[in-house]
């Protein structure tokens, strides 16, 4: 621990707010929505009390929030917002424009399950619905990781070879309101870590550099088509470059602040494992506890936690998966079109790209605030182990998920 750090006890939303404060954004545009509200309220309080020199714009809706931030970013400001579920849906039009303009914003998604049925609780259906909109998607496990990752996200987003917006995801309820010990890094150290911002060197609202932003591009003629394709290719290239940049920034964070967070994929007790659970977000803690408990009974199981989800770390996932003979992928969202979890789809594709074929089960749980407990993961471990034992059996096709929480029984 850096000797200038200090320790507080707070929830994930406040931890995110501390990460934002330390990153010194110039403009914060907000609209409150459960379970994000206390995050932006904390930021408003920081500004009201003079601890953060930023302009807070409380606007009439999320569409306006992100549109205002686009203008601020084009004018050279470091920007921030946070939203959840339906708020993200209302933000969609400027949301899809942001990566194409290569605006390096940071926005927290305090993950909330999607309508309908009406619900206000945690789940990752919101972010999974926009998983290929061109934003970098990073998922955190703990409040400390939320704080640290928000700061790192600015350096990733603003890297000149990346220039893409980053969503830092933390699960609604479990992370947003779960209270734990959090270390607040020293401001001067964070300032040095982030360096001087330059967010509009490539596209700007600046009278000294007159330009039209986002002119009509594409069309049927060959030149327009080629130009449009070039922008798409450039965005894909930025995404792929981000894989290395995310790793570099995490390594630098560990060097400066002494806290190591997995950059792309975290491997937990995987080296001698015969089966693995794949997890994402705050559920990973319970999965690791369940793996520890199973190992105490002689089951060789490890956990593969997806930290960076977009760009998808294909090679890192395949490398981790190659250590085991069967996988159980646990999602907190549903791919309606594939009848499985979205992370499950990604893992299958990563295995295919590496020429790996093994039994892989899709588990879906923790929807709409439902608890994902050690018992649920014990069940996932047992079923994945059974799939390994019957490895010569055909893989389920089409994939059909195992719905945790479907039996209505409370499990601890």
């Amino acid at each position: 621990m850096n000797h200038l750090s200090r320790i507080i006890v707070c929830d994930g939303n406040e931890a995110a707010a501390w990460g934002v404060k330390l990153s010194r954004p110039d403009v914060i545009a907000v609209y409150p929505i459960t379970p994000q509200s206390s995050l932006v309220e904390t930021l408003a309080k920081f500004v009201a009390e003079g601890e953060l020199d930023a302009e807070v714009m409380p606007l009439e809706g999320e569409h306006s929030v992100l549109s205002a931030l686009q203008g601020a970013c084009l004018a050279g400001a470091r920007t921030y917002t946070a939203t959840s579920g339906p708020g993200l849906a209302f933000m969609f039009e400027p949301y899809v424009r942001t990566p194409g303009l290569r605006l390096p914003m940071v926005a927290s998604l305090v993950n909330r399950d999607m309508l309908s049925p009406q619900c206000v609780w945690g789940g990752q259906q919101d972010v999974m619905t926009v998983r290929d909109a061109g934003w970098i998607q990073i998922f955190c496990e703990s409040a400390q990781e939320v704080l640290d990752t928000v700061i790192m996200a600015y350096r990733i987003a603003e890297h000149p070879a990346v220039m893409l917006p980053v969503n830092v995801n933390h699960d609604g309820n479990y992370l947003s309101y779960g209270v734990s010990r959090v270390e607040i890094p020293d401001q001067a150290a964070v300032d040095a870590f982030l360096g001087e911002k330059n967010v509009n060197w490539h596209v700007a609202l600046d009278p000294e550099r007159p330009m039209a932003v986002d002119p009509l591009t594409g069309g049927a003629d060959a030149e327009g088509a080629a130009r449009f394709v070039a922008y798409r290719q450039s965005l894909c290239r930025g995404m792929q470059t981000a894989l290395a940049v995310i790793s570099e920034v995490h390594a630098d964070w560990a060097r400066v602040f002494g806290r190591e967070h997995a950059a792309l994929v975290e491997e937990y007790r995987l080296d001698d494992a015969e089966i693995g659970l794949v997890t994402i977000g705050s559920m990973s803690g319970a999965a690791k506890d369940a793996a520890d408990a199973a190992r105490a009974e002689g089951v060789r199981v490890g956990v593969i936690r997806i930290k960076t989800y977009r760009p998808f770390p294909i090679a890192a996932v395949a490398a981790a998966a190659s250590k085991v003979g069967a996988l159980g992928v646990v999602d907190r969202a549903v791919s309606y079109g594939w009848n499985c979890g979205p992370v499950y789809q990604d893992v299958l594709a990563a295995l295919y790209s590496a020429g790996l074929r093994m039994p892989v089960l899709s588990f879906i749980g923790g929807l709409a605030g439902a608890d994902l407990t050690g018992a649920h993961f014990a069940r996932a471990i047992a079923m994945t182990r059974a799939a390994l034992r019957e490895a010569d059996a055909t893989l389920p096709a089409p994939p059909s998920p195992i719905w945790l929480n479907a039996d209505g029984e409370a499990t601890r």
Binding site: G100, R102, F193, M211, A212, V213, A230
Partner: protein, 94 residues
């Protein structure tokens, strides 16, 4: 990690969609219908001038004319004119 404008990389052409050259194309280049003013019917009430969404109505001494370089041919002036002094004709026929 300090970044200033001077040590940033050159701006790649394919990074963000921007235009720094002015397109000389005006709405008149792709208009399908053209408004034609009957000067003898125009009483200069200025309803067309008020209604035109691109403000291409030009005032003359005794009538209102159209700036055809800017007119996109929407026909609102013709529909609004209380004296039916404006009619829309096909560009190809004009």
């Amino acid at each position: 990690m300090s970044l200033s404008r001077s040590n940033m990389p050159p701006i790649p052409e394919d990074l963000a969609p921007v235009a720094t050259a002015l397109s000389t194309m005006l709405a008149g280049d792709w208009r399908a219908m053209r408004p034609v003013v009957a000067r003898e019917r125009c009483v200069k009430c200025a309803v067309c001038w008020l209604a035109c969404p691109v403000q291409c109505i030009v005032e003359r001494a005794h009538w209102f004319d159209i700036n055809l370089a800017a007119c996109k041919g929407c026909g609102i002036c013709a529909a609004e004119c209380p004296h039916r002094a404006i009619r829309m004709v096909e560009e190809a026929a004009a």
